[in-house]
Amino acid sequence: MATEINFGRSAADREKGFIALYKKAFPAVAKYVSKMGGSFDDAKDIFQDALVIFYEKKVNQSGIVATNEQAYLVGIAKHLWSRKFEENCALTSLDKQFDISEEDELQPSSFKILHYLETAGQKCMELLKAFYYDNLPVNTIAELFGYSGIRSATVQKYKCMEKVRETIKEKSLAYEDFVE
């Protein structure tokens, strides 16, 4: 029975959603990967990447239009498998849509900046993640981060964006190989 997954508003809500997806969709993915000659770790890697893509689609304004979300998730995983392991697999327009591999192309300096932001700017990064990546409603963010209201949460968002922008600018001058 297909049920709609809800990622809610907190890490605990997300965990519930991901556990439900694991239980419902991972068996089909594991079975498929095993049939294709892959290992448990292959199935795990493929499935986790598929979960990230699924999550990004789900929380995006446009959302997921599939009537059966579990089947949709299994479909993403199978697609990722064929792209990763089947030789001569023609690149399709789907690949662009399902591309989460930019990380591999990051310049070493970008990793340094990211690492710096992860440690020195964690509070701001968490707030920006909630706004821009998790796409949570402003009132929820205000509550989660302890702001008095929508207005101060929004002000803080722009302050943080400015801080991150300035940090990147400053650090990029120090690490010269930084390109977009």
Binding site: E15, S34, F40, S110, E118, I168
Partner: protein, 85 residues
């Protein structure tokens, strides 16, 4: 701060038509603005990378729970049966 907001609206195409026209004019009149747009785009890319890494770590923790905790044993056995051959 207002500049940050305007650049966001420009990047996400969310502002009103007037705001967009105003921004286009500012891009021409303010020589440092195009550069600020580029840095803000970089900042958004960095937020995305940060967020993906966090999400992946969250998913990995969930995976470890599912494959280590006794209460998920039936699930573990089901998955492992596909790879036991």
């Amino acid at each position: 701060m207002n500049e940050i907001k305007l650049i966001d609206e420009h990047l996400f195409n969310t502002g009103s038509t007037e705001d967009r026209l105003l921004f286009d004019a500012m891009l021409i009149l303010n020589p440092s603005l195009p550069e600020q747009v580029m840095w803000q785009k970089n900042a958004h890319a960095m937020v995305q990378q940060y967020s993906r890494r966090k999400l992946k770590a969250e998913i990995e923790t969930i995976h470890q729970k599912l494959f280590n905790e006794v209460r998920h044993r039936t699930f573990q056995q089901k998955i492992m049966s596909f790879f036991s051959r």
